[in-house]
Amino acid sequence: MSDIVIKAACWLGPQGFGNDQTGLRDWPTPLGEALRRGELEELRWSELFKSEAQRFARMDWLSRLGLMAVELLDVHFEAREAKDLEQTGVCVETAAGCLTSDAEFLRLPRPTVFSYTLPSTVIGEICIRHRFKGPMLCLISSGNSTRTAMDEAAAWLRDGSAKSCLCVSCEAVSPDAAALLPPDLALENTWQACALLLGRKSGDPRECALGNDTLTETCRHLCRATRRC
């Protein structure tokens, strides 16, 4: 696919976490057991990262996972010039979106929860933390991961709308949220997040060609096979 390449990839879910350099690692016990049970409140920023993430504690789980995924990429965005950040786009794919916050707001309406009853809020949180001001898009998928977010991000890179693009997939479905759905539409994963950074080929050894897999499959594959290119 022309000169658009993957610059970095990461994945986190019940089975572990990691990126294309470190590979996937297991969660330490007993945290791993709690996370496999879907007890996301056990997953704190300090479990994965040393630096602070302001406002993390007040975010919904979709935003927390999206923010963690971008951090897990291990790309030093803070070192980039303002002009580059202005041309960094963010494209998010999610099936359940903000359903968990919707369920929480239905139970107890509060302004702090209402702010998170939009699936695109995760984009806002990512952009606020990293000062990204490029194009943005939030796509709602049907439950199975797709290539659409990658295709859209690649189109931005090709037509010059952006110089680099983050593709993020995240899901966080609480039991209350799952109870809102028809039984046969239960989403497969209760929680997971992954991210890719796309850009133009520059010769960096970490770069990798885009394949035909979906966003989630691509991330998981790249994180399992750490030196794959």
Binding site: C127, L139, I140, G160
Partner: protein, 399 residues
């Protein structure tokens, strides 16, 4: 950055083949055109929602008789309000489309909450059809609309707060420009419900009397519900003259979740990206349709952004939130339709409910509709929660 002029002109542009609408003005784009001509507001209070401690029940409610008529025509979807409205708008928009294979037809849906009424019914353990229940998930609403409109090509569902509609139009145009489809049905739909009223009440962002965009004494927005649909077709499949989607751009403020950046710099980025993609200068815009919610911060931010892009020569501009309220995920689509209706009537729309213009607002803000002397290029802008900004350039093209 941005496509070069040569590249932009060599690509098959997306042109508008038809529009459809369900809004507070009623069913059909004719009701919107009438409201536009009369500069009439369709905002009203609704007794069924009274007594719930909401800031107000004044909103752009779709008339119940309109919903009843739609339900009578389609009993299978009688309680699936989002589907009913979007489907009706799509049917109106798709009346005169060129015949293309189903695999070359695409659909893009924009919505913030899909069938939020169904979600409320399920939560409160009230009866809810399986169809409406499915539409709690926005993508399934998009899939069902695609099936109902013989779409076998790409289907996308965009949910990005108040810029969803403009992003959906952008995605539709992009699918055509990239050769992925020849016809793209773009629909935007959202419903005003207890959930939505409670949310905006909790943020204290509603004007109890109804919104007054860019007014000196504005105090907040009015919600609205409805659906808009625009049928986009590959430019060469339509006779001239046509309105094309000539350019688009989006950006993030990277500043605040629920408030706009105070200086409007994010919106400036989005506007400049759209102008650059359309290969048009700021002085080439003949009319500008603002987001104009009626909140203090949004209208201030927008005014600053317009001054930054256009200087003291902001083109004639207006807001239509006073007609049908802020329709959230449908806003970008319905407001683009309004621009196209105005162009058809050779009119510059007014700003219903605006009485005394805020000094910070552009001096070219239109209180009343005016005859248009020249309408070749229009700019539509929206901003929203999570720092989102979007802009779309519409251009009339001859042969």
């Amino acid at each position: 950055m941005g496509a070069s002029l040569e590249t932009a002109l060599s690509q098959p542009r997306a042109a508008v083949a038809g529009c459809g609408a369900i809004s507070a003005t009623g069913a059909g784009i004719g009701t919107l055109a009438d409201a536009l001509r009369d500069n009439r507001s369709a905002l009203r209070a609704r007794e069924a929602f009274a007594g719930k401690r909401y800031q107000t029940t004044v909103a752009g409610w779709v008339p119940e008789e309109t919903i009843a008529q739609l339900a009578a025509r389609d009993p299978e979807h009688a309680d699936a309000r989002a589907f009913l409205m979007a489907d009706a708008a799509l049917r109106e928009a798709a009346r005169n489309l060129p015949t293309v294979a189903a695999g070359r037809r695409a659909l893009v849906l924009s919505t913030t909450k899909a069938d939020i009424l169904a979600m409320e019914r399920v939560f409160h353990r009230q009866p809810c059809s399986r169809t409406a229940h499915r539409h709690i998930l926005p993508r399934l609403l998009a899939d069902d609309l695609a099936a109902a409109h013989q779409v076998r090509g790409p289907v996308q569902c965009v949910s990005a707060a108040c810029i969803s509609g403009l992003l959906a139009l952008q995605q539709g145009a992009s699918l055509i420009e990239r050769g992925a489809a020849d016809v793209v049905l773009v629909a935007g739909a959202d419903i005003v419900s207890h959930f939505v009223l409670a949310g905006f009440t909790s943020l204290k962002s509603l004007d109890p009397e109804g919104c007054r965009p860019f007014d000196k004494s504005r105090t907040g927005l009015s919600l609205g519900e409805g659906a808009g649909a625009v049928a986009l077709v590959r430019r060469d499949l339509l006779p001239s003259p046509v309105w094309t989607i000539a350019g688009w751009g989006s950006s993030n403020d990277a500043n605040h979740l629920t408030g706009p950046s105070r200086d409007g710099s994010g919106l400036v980025l989005a506007i400049n990206r759209a102008l650059q993609r359309a290969a048009v200068n700021a002085d080439g815009i003949d009319y500008l349709h603002a987001h104009g919610t009626g909140t203090l911060y949004n209208d201030n931010m927008e005014s600053l952004a317009l001054r930054a892009v256009f200087g003291e020569n902001v083109p004639p501009c207006s807001s239509s939130k006073g007609i049908f309220g802020h329709t959230l995920g449908a806003a970008g689509v319905l407001e683009t339709i309004l621009c196209l209706l105005a162009a058809q009537a050779n009119t510059l729309p007014g700003t219903p409910r605006l009485v005394e213009c805020d000094p910070v607002a552009p001096q070219s803000m239109l209180l009343q509709p005016q005859p248009a002397t020249r309408l070749r290029c229009m700019l539509k802008i929206n901003s929203g929660f999570a720092g989102a900004n979007a802009a779309l350039v519409l251009r009339k093209e001859q042969a």
